[in-house]
């Protein structure tokens, strides 16, 4: 059976639930671990940028920022960008929990 036929039979949103790569694929917690690691990276980035912006505000030193960061800074000050990334991190953890719960339910059914 070719890939396109599988695609028609499995809903695309759930495709990864059926992709077996290795023995680790059998662990539902894996998706949660990846999500937490990704969220931690985003939170670390948020913290780093907040620290840089705070120090720049306190000391008046120059800080190189991207246009996106500049736009967010104009909108909500030094908290806007870290908050956005912190929320994204939380969103990924929520996705991780959702995936974990779905796979766990599949495993136990």
């Amino acid at each position: 059976m070719a890939f396109d036929e599988h695609l028609q039979r499995i809903p695309k949103a759930n495709w990864t639930d059926y992709e077996y790569v290795n023995k680790g694929s059998r662990q539902p917690v894996r998706v949660l671990v990846y999500a937490v690691l990704f969220a931690l990276a985003m939170w670390a980035f948020a913290l780093w940028r907040w620290y840089d912006m705070d120090r720049s505000e306190q000391t008046g030193s120059e800080l190189s920022i991207t246009p996106l960061e500049w736009g967010l800074y104009k909108l909500g000050g030094k908290w806007a960008l870290p908050l956005l990334f912190a929320l994204c991190g939380a969103f990924f953890i929520w996705l991780g929990f959702r995936g974990y719960a779905r796979l766990k339910k599949m495993k136990e059914s």
């Binding site: 890939f3 059926y18 077996y20 790569v21």
Partner: protein, 235 residues
């Protein structure tokens, strides 16, 4: 910078595995498995990713979730996987992309080099026109007003005598360079009598600058030369 790429799937093989038991309906002999591989695509295959398999049961008609795979299924999957090798075309991007990047950088450097050499030859031609002035040649110059603001104007060569050059100032003087390249060529645009400047001193590295007045307190930098009906710019 953002790159839009796709993840595509390469299908290796699909096989029925009669020895396997379906972990969903526990029916033997009805499990089939497809081995595939993801690869990145950007106008062509970029690089392969991991291989994977999907399995389904012809008896119950369900796909088997990865968390329900048995050890036996894993064994058969690894056996099927061993019989496959990644097609070389999936690695295409790993050498095409660096080559394209190198070609792009090479063309960019070549263009900069050509542009620089053209600029140098134009500057050399302008310097030559300044050092060997011919009557009728018009110099496009930047000088300053008494209040030290830039003035964009033209000097026409009346004649040269020894180390001195006799120039006619132009009655067209601009405060910006917007229409500066519209060189006034009519004789009436230049005011008599000529004023005298010293020929530039090439040894001092200022061959594009005229100075005049006591102790050279007035100066004009030559930016272009109008000769034989065309304007030759330094830059």
């Amino acid at each position: 910078m953002f790159y839009y790429y796709q993840l595509r799937n390469h299908h290796y093989k699909t096989e029925a595995l009669p020895l396997l038991l379906c972990p969903l309906c526990l029916h033997a002999g009805s499990v089939s498995m497809s081995v595939m591989q993801k690869y990145y695509w950007l106008a062509g295959p970029l690089a392969p990713s991991s291989r994977y398999a999907i399995a389904w049961c012809e008896h119950c008609g369900n796909y088997i979730p990865k968390v329900k795979w048995s050890d036996e299924m894993d064994l058969f999957y690894n056996h099927l996987k061993k019989g496959t090798s990644t097609p070389p075309r999936l690695y295409l991007g790993l050498w095409v992309m660096p080559l394209l990047t190198a070609a792009f950088v090479g063309v960019l450097l070549l263009a900069i080099n050509v542009s620089n050499s053209r600029s140098q030859s134009r500057a050399a031609a302008v310097t030559d026109a300044v050092m060997h002035p011919q009557p009728g040649t018009i110099f496009q110059v930047v000088t300053t007003t008494d209040s030290n603001t830039p003035l964009y104007t033209y000097f026409k060569v009346d004649h040269a005598a020894g180390d001195s050059l006799y120039l006619l100032p132009c009655n067209v003087q601009r405060t910006d360079a917007m229409d500066w390249d519209d060189v006034p060529t009519a004789a009436g645009s230049y005011i008599q009598p000529p004023f005298v400047v010293s020929l530039p001193d090439t040894a001092g590295g200022s061959s594009d600058m005229f100075t005049w007045g006591s102790q050279g307190h007035k100066y004009a930098i030559v930016e272009g030369v109008w000769t034989e009906g065309k304007l030759l710019k330094k830059y």
